[in-house]
């Protein structure tokens, strides 16, 4: 086992664990014509032990951003520019071999649909053992003990029996927990969860989020949760980053985003959620229109066509990022005096 971690020396804890700067990802369009600008100019930081929620609707670039961090983009995608720095080392230029030293060992991932995340022809135990053998060199009794401990940590009863079972013998909720166990098996510093609860039933969702919070608190993990559901972020996140059409439109601490969102898109998104205190006879607040086509380059603010506060400037010039008090920022002409 070649220990490549020496090329990624750990640095002091005050520097951010993850530093993404001006990331741009292009994806070749499926019909071969044109390029989709899936992610444009995304910059953010994540400190150790913090939880960031990346929120947006389908096509906004949130999953692409997350996959770029792990360099698991599909073959048709390319990081056109920008840097991604993990623990002080740039990973955009790294080879696949170098990335494999990070994946599973220092960065773990949880995917959306647990029913297809695991290989159906191997036992759960076998798949849990793989990263343990690879990154930590565990064998025999030590390996088994660690597997059992991991399954217990994610709340799976009778772990010894479960290790010998196959994925198709388990429910979605249980499989997602196993996926979680695999993701944290080698004590990573960063965990990326891509829509981790979307495919689960409500009670399983709640259980899984509790579990994530628990794992995060006991192990001091940094967590990135990609989701379209604000409720998930309320439960778990310190900061929220809202994306639209491949760009960040607003970022800030979770309380600020919920109580005092500044960007019109964030506000509209929060308004569109049905709440029990709503007057049922009135309709829900909606956002008219459709998200833009990312294959075309857009002048001005990408949300302008759907924004009820749009001004002429919004369609001609792209708004700059305005820093607001309390580590809060947004990209909107309304904020620029």
């Amino acid at each position: 086992m070649n220990d490549m971690s020496s090329s990624f020396p750990a640095s002091e804890t005050s520097a951010p664990l993850l530093d993404v700067d001006d990331l741009t990802v292009d994806i070749a369009a499926r019909d071969g014509k044109g390029i989709v600008h899936a992610v444009s100019g995304v910059s953010f930081e994540l400190k150790r032990g913090c939880t960031l929620g990346i929120v947006g609707e389908s096509g906004c670039g949130k999953s692409t951003t997350a996959m770029a961090i792990m360099q698991l983009l599909p073959g048709s995608a390319q990081i056109k520019s920008g840097t991604i720095s993990f623990d002080g080392n740039d990973i955009v230029g790294k080879s696949q071999t170098e990335m494999r030293a990070l994946r599973g060992k220092r960065i773990g991932m949880i995917m959306q649909d647990p029913m297809v995340a695991l290989d159906p022809v191997f036992t759960v135990g076998d798949q849990l053992a793989e990263p343990l053998k690879l990154h930590m060199g565990l064998k025999g009794q030590a390996l088994l003990e660690r597997q059992v401990a991991l399954l217990e940590a994610v709340g799976i009863p009778s772990p010894e029996t479960r290790l010998k079972q196959y994925p198709h013998q388990m429910s979605g909720g249980m499989l997602q927990r196993i996926v979680g166990a695999i993701a944290i098996s080698c004590n990573p510093e960063l965990l990326i969860a891509d829509e981790p609860t979307t495919a689960l039933d409500p009670t399983a969702q709640a259980q899984f989020l509790d579990l994530l919070a628990d794992i995060r608190d006991t192990r001091g993990l940094a967590l990135i949760i990609v989701t379209h559901d604000f409720g998930v972020t309320a439960r778990l996140c310190d900061d929220i980053m809202v994306m639209y059409a491949g760009r960040i439109v607003e970022r800030g601490p979770v309380e600020t985003i919920f109580k005092a969102p500044r960007h019109p898109y964030t506000r509209a998104l929060l308004d569109a959620i049905p709440k029990p205190e709503n007057d049922r006879s009135k309709g829900l607040a909606t956002i008219e229109g459709q998200p833009p086509n990312l294959a075309e380059s857009i002048s001005g603010c990408s949300f302008a066509p759907r924004c009820r506060f749009a001004m002429p400037r919004c369609t001609s010039e792209r708004p700059p990022v305005t820093k607001l008090p309390g580590d809060h920022q947004t990209a909107c002409w309304l904020e620029v005096v």
């Binding site: 039933d201 049905p274 709503n278 829900l284 459709q290």
Partner: protein, 333 residues
């Protein structure tokens, strides 16, 4: 009090499993729907809430007569329809239509929007060509799509627009009841609001009744006047939406609502944790089928089927731990 457009009484659907030649005894059955009763008042929406495997999809199939019930009755506007065929069945089907979850697979990719919406009108065989064209244009207008949409194919539209097409198709024969099976789960949040508003407008405009199936409790709370909660093929609680939301009586209902994620940060929700996972519908637990996971389970729960208790609030729950004078459960830690 509105009259009931749809009434279901003790509906059951059991699926027999292939018999094992080496083992004797009765063939095992999957009790997908195990004695379900509810009613939908005309012009209102009833929500059917439940998680995977609770039997809501099978119930939908039974109501659409895609499956025949093993037992029980389905009454539409007072008339029994669970056994009807021929002309009676066609009449029933023209009055009960459905909109499904996935807008990407519920429309045939090879047929234009016009063909998709016109299909039920063609099948009814009582409309002339001119009438069909006029009706399709009318329907597109009702759901908020431009008339030019009719010559295009589904893949040219977004998820939300396709769902509008599916709704237009569902309304083609002027049904009185629309079954909405997770109509917005596959759509983005901002589009969901558009579609839900559309559905509410249509209900007011045409006096439609809806059966809304969803696992998203916020949507159900917003759209429904009454709701029924299903677990392992049975209804465990049913009643007015406000009552179910504010004071759920059945432990499962309480657990479900406690799992709803807060939309504002002040909400402190006591999460009720359920242990274990859903048992198999082939061998449901004895007594109350929820007792294996219930945080308040008592010995009697595994021994006897629980009674139906109607509380003074107006909801009905099937649980041993309630009595008719509405003594509710202690707060669960």
């Amino acid at each position: 009090m509105n009259r009931k457009i749809l009434e279901v009484r003790d509906l059951r659907k059991y699926f027999p499993l292939p018999a094992n030649p080496l083992r004797r005894g009765e063939r095992p059955v999957v009790r997908a729907v195990d004695g379900v009763s509810f009613a939908i008042p005309e012009g209102e929406t009833l929500g059917l809430i439940g998680e995977s495997g609770c039997g809501k999809s099978t119930t939908v199939k039974l109501l659409l007569r895609l499956e025949s019930p093993t037992d029980g009755q389905i009454l539409f506007d007072g008339k029994e329809v669970q056994n009807s065929h021929g002309k009676d069945l066609r009449t029933y089907r023209s009055q009960v239509q459905a909109v499904f979850q996935d807008p990407y697979s519920s429309l045939s990719p090879k047929r234009t929007v016009f063909q998709a919406i016109a299909e039920p009108l063609h099948a009814a065989k009582r409309f002339s060509r001119e009438e069909i064209i006029r009706r399709v244009n009318e329907l597109l207008d009702i759901v908020g799509l431009p008339s030019t949409a009719q010559s295009r194919l589904p893949h040219e539209f977004s998820g939300g627009q396709r769902q509008r097409i599916a709704i237009a198709r569902g309304l083609a024969l002027q049904p009185r009841l629309l079954i909405l099976d997770e109509p917005v789960s596959a759509l983005d949040v901002s589009i969901r609001a558009q579609i839900l508003n559309l559905l509410q407008d249509l209900q007011k405009q045409f006096g439609l009744s809806y059966l809304l199936i969803s696992h998203d409790l916020d949507i159900v709370t917003h759209m429904c006047q009454s709701a029924a909660v299903m677990y392992l093929g049975k209804i465990v609680e049913i009643g007015p939406m406000d009552v179910i939301r504010s004071s759920p009586q059945h432990p499962y209902t309480r657990a479900l609502f406690s799992s709803v994620l807060p939309t504002n940060l002040e909400q402190e929700i006591q999460r009720i944790r359920l242990h274990g996972s859903v048992p198999s519908p082939i061998n449901p637990p004895s007594g109350c089928s929820f007792h294996t996971r219930c945080p308040s389970a008592q010995p009697i729960c595994s021994q006897q089927l629980p009674p139906r208790i109607t509380t003074a609030h107006g909801s009905t729950a099937v649980c041993h731990l309630l009595t008719a004078d509405e003594r509710t459960l202690e707060a669960v830690p």
